[in-house]
Structure formats: structure tokens, C-alpha cells
């Protein structure tokens, strides 16, 4: 009896989940479909003048009329998308390196050392996270483009992205460093290790999960960012991928949804790959066995 009510309950649950899956996956399938259609239209199929039920159904099934790679090859050959991807890679890569390096050293200092301004520094980082990015858009433009003359320059964007990513990364890493038992460092100190050795050979290896998260966050911040890049980079050759994508659609020219979809998929791949690579570090428990337990 109870088993039957259970399976009936499960049926509804599964139906509900199925609907949710469709809602979640549909836009992605749409993009895939447009990208592989070879055309530039958002529609899956052209409706005849007097559409029947089947025609209408066909029009909402996210499957292109023909499958072709042409949008993918064209987005690289007809458009400078390859260059934009390279720009994004340079900016995001440098932001990640800069973010992880500065955030790990700063986070370690905040976690382990007592110094004047420690609390104020941490609070400052926190407060800086509370303002929406657009609020600082104009001042940042003035600082980067007018004062530092770093408009359409990688350095300007790297600087901007790093300052955005670092506060979060510092908090994240500081929190993680706090969980590493101080005895490990004391023990290393007794073993004759210098502060730098302790940091590089004890703390950093133990912080791999946190560093992976930080690196991923830094990379994604820089890779996906649009507004700042659009503001700073005004030469087409210096566009990052998100900025470049935007110019396929909108405006008064022909809407190139095919390029847009293909470009989006290509741009999403690095983050997905990064996720897969870092996945094994995104599990905690690396400090198990350090101290009693």
C-alpha cells in the first residue's frame, strides 16, 4: 500500500523534475541548434504561410534543419573572433595569476600575522564587494583611460579585473588558511623552515582546494566580464570575447545569431574545461590526518 503511494508520489516528483530539466536545458539546446544550423536566424524552422500543428511543433523543437560546422568555422575565418578569444585568454590568464598570487600572500598575512590595519583591511575588502560594478564605472574609466592612459590596453583591464577579484579571493583564502592548524607551521619552524618555505611547502600545497576555487573565480570574473571591457576596450582588435560577441547582434546591421551562438559555445568551453580539471581539487578534506582524528 505504502509502496504504491510512494511510487505515485515519485511519479509526480519525476514529472516536476522533468519539466524543470526542460526549462533549464531548452535555452542551451536553442543556442546549440542555432550554432549548428549554419544560418543566422534565431528560428529553428521557417513556418509556411498557413502552418499546421506539425509545422508549429517543428518550430519549437530545438533541432536545426541541417547540421553544419559552418558557423564555427566562419566565426573564426570571417570574423576576428580568434583574436578576441586570445585577448580574453591573456586578460583572464593574467588576472588569475595576479589574483591568486596576491590573494594567497595577502590572505596568509591576514590569517597569521597581527599588524595595524588588519581589521580595517579585511573590512575594507568586504565593503568594496558591496557596491555594484556599474557604480564605479565612470570613476574607473577616468582612472584607467584618462589618467593612466590604459584604454584599449591589456594592462588596464587586468588591473581592473584583479582589483575586482582579489577582495573575494583574499577572504576566501584567509578563511581557508585559518583552518590549517598553526601547529603545522610551528612544527615546520622547529624543522628549520623559513616563513617563505613554510608558505610554499606547507601552506600552499595544503590549500589546493581553496586555491582552485580562487583561480576559477578569478578566471571566470575576467572571462565573462562585459561592461568594463566594453568601456575600456574601444578598438575592435582589442575586444574580449564577450564584447566581440555583442557586435554580432544588436545594432542596425543584419543580426548574426549564428555567429553569436557559435561564439558563445566556443567561449564557454574554456571555463567548462577548467571546471573539469579543477574538479578534483574542489573537494575538501585534504587536511585530514594532519592532527588527531
Amino acid at each position: 500500500m505504502s509502496r504504491r503511494t510512494d511510487s505515485v508520489g515519485h511519479l509526480w516528483l519525476h514529472l516536476f523534475l522533468l519539466v524543470m530539466v526542460v526549462i533549464t536545458v531548452y535555452p542551451i539546446l536553442w543556442v546549440l541548434s542555432v550554432a549548428f544550423s549554419g544560418g543566422q536566424s534565431l528560428a529553428f524552422a521557417d513556418l509556411p504561410p498557413d502552418p499546421g500543428v506539425l509545422d508549429r511543433l517543428r518550430a519549437i523543437v530545438p533541432w536545426p534543419e541541417q547540421l553544419t560546422w559552418s558557423n564555427f568555422s566562419d566565426v573564426f575565418s570571417q570574423q576576428p573572433f580568434g583574436r578576441w578569444l586570445l585577448n580574453s585568454t591573456i586578460v583572464a590568464g593574467a588576472t588569475t595569476l595576479c589574483g591568486v598570487f596576491l590573494a594567497s600572500t595577502a590572505g596568509y598575512a591576514f590569517s597569521r600575522f597581527k599588524f595595524p590595519g588588519r581589521r580595517a583591511g579585511m573590512m575594507g575588502f568586504l565593503v568594496s564587494q558591496m557596491f555594484p560594478g556599474t557604480l564605479t564605472l565612470v570613476p574607473l574609466y577616468i582612472i584607467i583611460v584618462v589618467w593612466l592612459e590604459l584604454g584599449s590596453n591589456f594592462l588596464g583591464l587586468i588591473l581592473l579585473y584583479s582589483t575586482t577579484a582579489i577582495p573575494f579571493c583574499v577572504w576566501m583564502l584567509k578563511g581557508y588558511f585559518d583552518t590549517i592548524p598553526i601547529e603545522l607551521e610551528e612544527s615546520a619552524k622547529m624543522d628549520g623552515a623559513s616563513a617563505l618555505t613554510i608558505f610554499y611547502r606547507i601552506i600552499l600545497p595544503l590549500s589546493k582546494p581553496a586555491i582552485a576555487v580562487t583561480a576559477l573565480f578569478s578566471f571566470m570574473t575576467a572571462w565573462n566580464e562585459f561592461v568594463l571591457a566594453l568601456t575600456i576596450m574601444d578598438q575592435e582588435i582589442m575586444y574580449t570575447a564577450p564584447v566581440g560577441l555583442r557586435f554580432f547582434v544588436g545594432g542596425y546591421a543584419e543580426q548574426q545569431w549564428g555567429y553569436f551562438a557559435a561564439g558563445s559555445i566556443v567561449a564557454a568551453l574554456p571555463v567548462m574545461i577548467l571546471f573539469l580539471i579543477l574538479q578534483r581539487y574542489l573537494i575538501s578534506g585534504l587536511t585530514a590526518g594532519a592532527v588527531k582524528g
Partner: protein
């Protein structure tokens, strides 16, 4: 090997004085145990010797060098932490040779030392494992191994056995003592467990609230505790205390409910102090249900039994004597009924006298 001397060592955290003044001399090759309840400053003292805490005032000498300003690595010491503090991302071998690799020691020498230490401690087969794959006792051995491969002149142990279960603790206790005897390295060992202190140390330093109460061999502490605190702290079950007054020119102790004559050596300690309030200390093994031969004079006291604890070789009886809680010992097959009143034999030659006001031991010649 080296001696360790603490001279007028003081430690304050901000305004809080943890150790007021500590003078302690640890001889070359000696196994010195610092013991006391938590918060007594014993770990702080050890960490100051290690160089992990700064010294507010005073001097610490290791060997013939004042080490106040020396970095821990330059003090020629090795420490075993309560939590073992093994590096979780390194194998046992890497854990043990980390310090040697930092010193850029010759690889062959490193391997020789690690293999030697692993053999002594019986952890050879675990050398390629990581700490999380080891049991508590094995981790403990690795932590000790990491200390001995350095071949330091002083070992520091900070409550190394407190995370182990009772049986393993007894075993490791013997292993560490054996190891120390074999290596002959000066050792400072911190514990809150007086049994560990008694069984392991050549000498014991008892601390309370940052003050050194007494330093001596286990037997000295047991037989002549310098004050009430040491008397209570050392020995299980702890010493019993009965208040009383000196009478008869130091010949007697009297109270409203009991009174007895003092043996000659104790008379000397309280002569001329008639009327002084004292506490009479007696260990449970000297307050017995049976009358033993060859223990000198005894007197009998009435005792109301409230609880019996059978240990096999003896029975510990908890009860009251004129309102004072006491513990006495009985032979296993001759035990009283609970709630009954029985006679106890107080072995007078083994009494301890303490001044009720100063809590100091009263002994001959003071």
C-alpha cells in the same frame, strides 16, 4: 646533549601574567617532566624553551648558549606536538626528513637517519604512507621519529600522549622512556597527567598558576610534598586531609572528634607550636582496614563507609570520618558493608603535616 636552564623567566600576554618567575635547571641527559593542571603555564614554559613564545623577562640557556634571541631552528631542539602536527600532504618519510632536507643534508645521510629512526620506532613499513592512513599510535611514532632524526641536543614533548586511548598511552609511555634512556638526550616533557609524570620522569617540576611548586624525583614528591597542592596533585587516589590542632608541645594532634600521638620525627616539626592549626595528610594506603606489620605505630579511627571500589588487588573504600571525606584501603576479601561503621588503622609514621594557613609542609628543622 645539553642542559637547559631557565633563570627568572617571566611571561606576560598583554597585561596578563602567565608565568611570574620560573627558575628551573634541567640537567644534561635528564628526563624532566613539567606537570600541573591546565592553565598552569607548563606548555607556555615549554614553548618558550622551543622559541615559539617570546620571553618577557629572564634568560633561557640551552647547552652553554643563551637562546633568548635565537630562532627555534638554531636552538638545536626538536619538539613533539600534542596534535602530532604531521604534514598531511607528505608521506611519512617526507615528514621525517623535511627538516633534514631543509638543512640540505647529504641524501645518503638523510636516508640512513630516517631508516634508523623508522627501525627503532617500528614504522618501517609505513614510510610511504600518508598520515591520514595511519592510526593514532602510528602517527605518534612518526611525530617522535621526526624529532629523533634531527639528533637534537634537547627533546621537547608537549602532552604527546593525550590523544591516545588508555592502553596505547601506557605502551607509548614505556616506549618514550625507553627511547630517552637509549638516546640519552635531555628531555622536557609536559603533561597534566601525574601518572605520566611519576612513571616517566627522572625529576618532576610541579607548576600551578605559573608558579613552580616543587622540583624533585617522583619519590621525593610522593614522600615529601612541599605543600598542600603537590600533596593533592601527586598520587591516586589523592591524599586525605584531616584538620587538627597541635597539643602537648608537639606531641599530639587533637580535634573534637579524634586525636592521636605523633611519632618522634613529626614532633620535632611542630614542637613549640601548640594550638597551631594544621592539616594532617595521609595517603589512602596508610589508612587501612587491616593492621599491617612493620609499619610502626598506628592508631584507630571510626569510619563510615559510603562507597566501595574493587580493583582486584585491593578495595578502595570512600567514606566519612567526623564529616571529612576520606579514602581508605582494604584487603579484597575482607571488605566492610556499605553504610557500616568500621575501624581504620592510621599508620602514624607516614603522616604528613601542613600548616593550615600557609599550606606549606611542616618538617623537621623548619
Amino acid at each position: 646533549m645539553a642542559q637547559v636552564v631557565l633563570q627568572g623567566v617571566k611571561k606576560c600576554y598583554d597585561d596578563v601574567e602567565v608565568i611570574e618567575r620560573l627558575d628551573l635547571e634541567i640537567r644534561e641527559g635528564e628526563f624532566m617532566v613539567l606537570v600541573g593542571p591546565s592553565g598552569c603555564g607548563k606548555s607556555t614554559a615549554l614553548r618558550m624553551i622551543a622559541g615559539l613564545e617570546e620571553i618577557t623577562a629572564g634568560e633561557i640557556v640551552i647547552g652553554d648558549r643563551v637562546v633568548n634571541e635565537l630562532h627555534p631552528k638554531d636552538r638545536d631542539i626538536a619538539m613533539v606536538f600534542q596534535s602530532y602536527a604531521l604534514y598531511p600532504h607528505m608521506t611519512v618519510r617526507e615528514n621525517m626528513d623535511f627538516g633534514l632536507r631543509i638543512q640540505k643534508m647529504d641524501r645518503a645521510e638523510i636516508d640512513r637517519r630516517v631508516n634508523d629512526a623508522a627501525r627503532i620506532l617500528g614504522i618501517e613499513e609505513y614510510l610511504d604512507r600518508r598520515p591520514r592512513q595511519l592510526s593514532g599510535g602510528q602517527r605518534q611514532r612518526v611525530a617522535v621519529g621526526r624529532a629523533i632524526v634531527r639528533q637534537p641536543s634537547v627533546f621537547l614533548f608537549d602532552e604527546p600522549l593525550s590523544n591516545l586511548d588508555a592502553k596505547l598511552r601506557v605502551q607509548m609511555r614505556a616506549e618514550i622512556t625507553g627511547l630517552q634512556r637509549r638516546l640519552g638526550t635531555t628531555t622536557v616533557y609536559v603533561t597534566h597527567d601525574q601518572v605520566e609524570a611519576m612513571t616517566m620522569g627522572h625529576r618532576i617540576a610541579v607548576l600551578k598558576d605559573g608558579d613552580l611548586q616543587q622540583v624533585g624525583t617522583p619519590l621525593e614528591l610522593y614522600e615529601s610534598p612541599a605543600n598542600l597542592f603537590v600533596a593533592r596533585f601527586i598520587g591516586t587516589p589523592p591524599m586525605n586531609f584531616l584538620p587538627g590542632r597541635v597539643a602537648g608541645d608537639g606531641a599530639q594532634i587533637v580535634s573534637e572528634d579524634y586525636g592521636f600521638d605523633l611519632p618522634a620525627p613529626l614532633r620535632a616539626a611542630v614542637r613549640g607550636r601548640d594550638g597551631a592549626e594544621v592539616l594532617v595528610g595521609v595517603r589512602p594506603e596508610n589508612l587501612r582496614g587491616d593492621r599491617r606489620e612493620g609499619v610502626g605505630a598506628t592508631t584507630t579511627l571510626r569510619f563510615q563507609v559510603t562507597l566501595l571500589e574493587t580493583l582486584g588487588h585491593e578495595v578502595q573504600a570512600h567514606g566519612r570520618l567526623a564529616g571529612h571525606e576520606l579514602v581508605a584501603k582494604f584487603q579484597p576479601h575482607n571488605t566492610p558493608e556499605i553504610d557500616s561503621e568500621v575501624e581504620l588503622h592510621l599508620e602514624l609514621d607516614h603522616l604528613h603535616l601542613f600548616d593550615a594557613a600557609t599550606e606549606l609542609r611542616l618538617s623537621e628543622g623548619e
